[in-house]
């Protein structure tokens, strides 16, 4: 990959990479992400309702 290109790209730190697969944190994120998605679905059902 061209070094020039990667010089100007944001890259994750070691702790960021670690947290992406750190089980206790990811179990928490599983709950949070699901709640966020349910919120979007509920809102979609409200706005996508009766015309």
């Amino acid at each position: 990959m061209a070094d020039e290109k990667t010089l100007y790209v944001t890259k994750p730190t070691r702790s960021t990479l670690f947290m992406r697969t750190f089980l206790p944190f990811q179990i928490w994120r599983f709950v949070v992400i699901n709640l966020k998605m349910i919120g979007i679905i509920r809102r979609g059902h409200r706005t996508g309702g009766r015309g």
Partner: protein
């Protein structure tokens, strides 16, 4: 007694047929017409494409599901719509053609066109798995062929060879960049898992103006005290995984070992490959429409790209004048009250991403995605409107504008229960509304994204939940779209 005919058994058609059947009394009929015998949970095709699943794990036979649900199933391709009937009888009908059989007429009272896309590999010379030089994951069979080719490449690398992988889109007007994105990061993950990553050179080629556009104008995410464009996150992931990228590209030709492409600045480029997975552009499936006298009225029902006209504002106007209100709400044909379209089959009023043209006049801009969650939500709203109109309503009763709906999306970035990751994203609304949400076009509190193992678990959960739902097993209606 009313006859509801649904053309197509993809996410939109299958969802609409299932809900219509559930909501209608037994005196009414629901018929699904599809050329293929199976339902395909398309989002999981990428896992077939890297050899982690078999086609049978992402498909279900439709006939037994429909028999149990009381839905008639006609395995045939829809060819013609006769919305006024013909000289002999005024009943509207569609002409359907089974493989190897004679065309037959299927009368309807309400018609839903959910035929999905025609895969237009022919738009780029040499593109596609059938007679071309590139692979695809659009269909389970395509994905299985990609997995077999990948296995061969892995064997070569195990013998010490270096191999070049090219993944992305094969035309300047493609959509579904998100699916190609999932494929490239899964491919990279699998090459690492199989111990050959150091012998692979992986390149992304896309028609997006910036990485992370995905045909929806990208996203802006609130993270760490900044509002950051999705291009930053996409580039970061590629840099982390050692994936190179070519943006703003229109692939002109695919040769056995290289693609030739044009970029927005008018420059010509080429990229060599040993393995290329390039998605095709889409069009409608080419349905024709005829009036009572047999006159061709296709142009009244469809745009030139063969997608169906619905209640959108199709007036040609510059990007600056695009509005959220241009997008359809009821998906009813403006010509016929009893015809609707849902999913990829409806014609969007314009793109979502800002369009760009090269100095040579080549349009290089992603087409708008309308798959997955919005596709099913639209289909359910249309089914409700049809059921209500059968019950006496004079107009569609339910709406599902993509400019008013949010979407949740999980893009796999590697499949493993402990080391896999996926990007989980929500956007609200799907089509930016710059009048309601100035600057970014979306509600920043409801537009979010993050990558992690939790996303992978959700992706696996969705795979099983949606296949369960597609089988119309007990409680299927409890699973949201």
């Amino acid at each position: 007694m009313s006859r509801v005919v649904v053309l197509g058994a993809g996410i939109a058609g299958h969802t609409a047929a299932a809900f219509a059947r559930k909501w209608l009394g037994s005196e009414h009929t629901v018929t699904v017409v599809s050329p293929r015998p199976d339902y395909n949970w398309v989002p999981s095709n990428i896992w077939v494409g890297v050899g982690l699943m078999k086609p049978a794990q992402v498909t279900i036979p439709l006939a037994p599901v429909y028999e149990r649900a009381g839905i008639e199933f006609v395995q045939a391709a829809a060819r013609e719509i006769h919305p006024d009937g013909d000289r002999d009888h005024p009943t509207p009908y569609v002409v359907v053609e089974p493989a190897g059989g004679a065309a037959t007429e299927l009368p309807y009272d309400f018609l839903l066109n959910a035929t999905g896309p025609e895969l237009r590999f022919d738009k780029t010379e040499g593109l596609g798995p059938d007679g071309g030089h590139s692979l695809s994951v659009c269909l389970p069979g395509h994905a299985a062929a990609a997995a077999a080719a990948l296995a061969e490449e892995v064997e070569r690398m195990r013998r010490g060879e270096r191999r070049r992988f090219l993944v992305g889109v094969g035309h300047g007007t493609c959509t579904c960049e998100g699916a190609a994105f999932e494929y490239i990061v899964n491919l990279e993950f699998e090459l690492r898992a199989r111990g050959v990553r150091d012998r692979a050179e992986i390149t992304w080629i896309t028609n997006e103006y910036e990485l992370g556009d995905f045909g929806m104008g990208g996203m802006y995410l609130k993270r760490a005290g900044y509002i950051t464009p999705s291009s930053i996150f996409n580039a970061s992931l590629f840099a982390e995984r050692g994936i190179d990228w070519i943006t703003r590209a229109h692939v002109q030709k695919v040769e056995p070992d290289r693609v030739l492409y044009e970029t927005l600045d008018g420059a010509q480029g080429e990229q060599g490959f040993d393995f290329a997975m390039l998605l095709p552009p889409f069009s409608g499936v080419g349905l024709r429409a005829f009036d009572r006298d047999g006159g061709d009225i296709t142009e009244r029902l469809f745009l030139a790209n063969q997608f169906m006209r619905v209640d959108a504002d199709y007036t040609a106007k510059p990007y600056e004048d695009w509005k959220a209100s241009d997008w359809p709400r009821t998906y009813q044909s403006p010509e016929y009250d009893n015809i609707f379209a849902a999913g990829i089959a409806f014609a969007p009023p314009h793109a979502i991403s800002r369009p760009h043209m090269s100095p040579n006049g080549t349009l290089i801009a992603p087409a708008p995605p309308r798959t997955g969650m919005p596709s099913a939500t639209i289909a359910k709203a249309v089914a409700r409107s049809i059921v209500d109109m059968i019950g006496g309503a004079t107009a569609p009763t339910h709406t599902a504008s993509m400019a008013e709906l949010g979407a949740a999306c999980v893009a796999s970035a590697g499949s493993n229960p402990f080391t896999g990751t996926a990007a989980s994203m929500t956007v609200f609304p799907i089509v930016p509304d710059f009048e309601r949400y100035p600057v970014y076009g979306r509600d920043q509190d409801r537009t979010f994204g993050e990558i992690g193992l939790a996303g992978h678990w959700i992706k696996i959960l969705l795979h099983h939940l949606f296949l369960y739902k597609a089988r119309l097993r007990p409680g299927w209606r409890m699973i949201p779209e």
